[in-house]
Structures are given as C-alpha cells and as structure tokens.
C-alpha cells in the first residue's frame, strides 16, 4: 500500500525549496499558491527524496465561493503519495497554471476539468472540451449549473 506522506514535513521542505509557496495545511493535503504551482510541481517531481513521477488523479471541487483543483501525486520509486490543492476565487474565468509540462497525464485530466468545471489551465497545449461537444453552453459540474 502506498504510504501517505506527512503534510507538515513536506510543507517544511517545500517552503525551504520554493519560498512563500504554501498557503495553508489541511489534515491530509497541502494548499499551495496558484502562481507557485509549476515550481512546486517541478520540485516535487525532480527532488530525489520525493520523486513524484506519477500524477494519479487531477480533479476539481466547487465550493461556491471558490474552486479547488486537487492533485493526487504518487511516487512509484518510493511508493508514497501526497495530495496538493490549489484554490481559485475567480468565478467568471477561473485560471490555474497547467502542469502538462511536468506530468503528461495532466493533459486529458485538465481538459476534463475545463469541460465540466470551466477552469482555464494557463499554458495547456490543447485546451478544448473533452466529453461534451463544441458550442455546449455552460459547465455542468458547477454547483450553480441548472
């Protein structure tokens, strides 16, 4: 079974490597700042102590006052895992940097989140709808979608 890393320890290492990147700590997740996400992702993948080489899941939650994009990271070398979160308070055009450059698996997952939640991933090479068709109005997994 994959071991979930202790968030406090990881956050301590993170704030040393990428200063001012951790926004807050949750029980089993680290909330990072959107503008530092790419640096954080690059560090977590490249650092030999972590080497998170596998993005198991990328999803998003609508809390009505904010969106949260959730990244489930797994290291196949060390067999441990970590949950990263990014918050976005903009509702009309919420924007989060894309991590396709770090993990190729994010390509379709970010397109799915864009399709159903309407979150724009800055820097995605091909940000189009994945499940729904072109010209579909709205983003159906938002809480205010009717």
């Amino acid at each position: 079974m994959t071991v979930a890393l202790d968030c406090e320890q990881v956050a301590r290492r993170l704030s040393q490597a990428v200063p001012d990147s951790v926004l807050s700590l949750e029980k089993s997740a680290i909330v990072v700042k959107g503008e530092k996400l790419k640096e954080v992702a690059g560090f977590l993948k490249g650092d030999p102590d972590f080497s998170f080489d596998y993005l198991a899941n990328l999803t998003a939650v609508d809390y009505l006052d904010r969106f949260e994009v959730v990244y489930h990271l797994v290291s196949l070398t060390h067999n441990h895992s970590l949950v990263l979160k990014v918050r976005c308070y903009e509702r009309l055009k919420p924007t989060v940097p894309s991590v396709v450059g770090v993990w190729r698996a994010a390509d379709f997952q970010e397109r799915e989140v864009y399709d159903l939640m309407g979150i724009v991933f800055q820097g995605h090479p091909n940000l189009k709808r994945l499940f729904l068709w072109e010209d579909f109005a709205g983003h159906p997994l938002r809480k205010d979608y009717l």
């Binding site: 499940f131 729904l132 068709w133 579909f136 159906p140 979608y145």
Partner: protein, 197 residues
C-alpha cells in the same frame, strides 16, 4: 456319319417340343401389366408442394433469419451478450451471429444510455442499415432516458432520433425480456406485407 459310343439323349422331335414349351413359358411370364414409371411422383408431389402466399413465405424467412446489430452502449449490453451466449442461446431464433457492420444487420438492439455526443452515430448507423430493418430500444435509458432523463448529456428516449419498433423495459431487462421483445419483432414481421415496405 456315326460316332462310336455316342447315343443321342433326345430325338430331333423332342427338341422342337422343348423349344415350344420354353416360348410358351416366356409368353405366360410377360403377360402382367407394366408398372407406370412415374407412379412415385404422385406421392412426392403430395409431400413436397405447399400452397401459400408470397407474403407469408417471405415473412417466414425474414423473421427466422434476423441478424442483430451489436449496439451495446451501457450496462444493458451485458444482458444482451448473455442473451447471445449459450445459456439463453439466441441461435434458436436464427440469430446466430451478432453483426458489427450495419450493412449486414436487420435488427438494431440499442442497449443502454444514449448520450447526445453518441446520438449522431446512432442515427448514422441506423441509416446505414439496409431495408428491411427493425429497432429494439432495450432498457429504461434507451426508452426514455431512464434515471438520467434530466441530465444535460443524455437523449431522453431513442425515439427522438430513430423510429423504434419494440420497447423492452427493465433496468436492465433480463435476457428473457429481450427474447420476448425479439418474439414481438417476429410477430410484427409476420404481419407485414412486402408491398408496403
């Protein structure tokens, strides 16, 4: 001329009598009436010729050799696969092979939820099938959208896209239900006329 030691058994006059007797026997044996060589035909004709209508014969052939089109869209597909497999054995109705090509199929069994993104493909495949063709809407989703009727992405009923002949309700229907639907298709085919098609 006289051959020594030879004594004729019968005389010349006896030979004539024997010959006459043989001819009389042959004549007597050939007096029976000769059997008609076409006698057997009468019985075979009575056994092999049926009088019926063209409609009945065509419908009989059609209804007993339907090739279904595999169209499993969701969980209903597994009941359809079970229907085709050995336990429920759809081959009893002459539906031995599920065709993957619409050009070879007569019956489209739409099994499962149809999304709007799939809808153009469903319609296209229906149009590619050769006449005569029939459609079964299998399961609640294909009939009316089912549980997902209110969803943004689900077609609320197959009959919005293509004409449907038989609706098989259930979520999903048991193979017996699908077989009942196929029997209804048979009944429908038997009531059709080639003039109308």
């Amino acid at each position: 001329m006289e051959i020594k030691g030879y004594e004729p058994v019968i005389s010349i006059g006896d030979v004539d009598i024997l010959e006459g007797r043989r001819i009389e026997e042959l004549r007597a044996a050939s007096q029976q009436p000769i059997a008609d060589p076409d006698d057997w035909l009468e019985a075979e004709l009575r056994r092999n010729i049926l009088l019926t209508t063209v409609d009945y014969a065509v419908n009989w052939a059609r209804s007993r050799s339907i090739f279904p089109l595999m169209f499993g869209l969701a969980c209903c597909a597994f009941e359809m696969i079970a229907t085709a497999a050995s336990r429920f054995d759809i081959a009893r109705f002459g539906m031995d092979i599920f065709r993957w090509s619409p050009r070879q199929a007569d019956l489209m069994i739409v099994a499962g939820t149809i999304t709007w993104k799939m809808a153009p493909a469903v319609k296209l495949i229906y149009e590619q099938m050769a006449e005569p063709k029939w459609v079964i809407a299998m399961g609640a989703c294909a009939i009316s959208g089912g549980t997902f009727r209110e969803s943004y992405s689900v077609v609320p009923g197959l009959n919005r896209i293509v004409p449907v002949d038989v609706y098989v309700p259930g979520c999903p229907p048991r193979p017996e239900g699908l077989i009942h639907g196929i029997r209804l298709i048979h009944q429908k085919i038997m009531s059709e006329s080639i003039k109308k098609r």
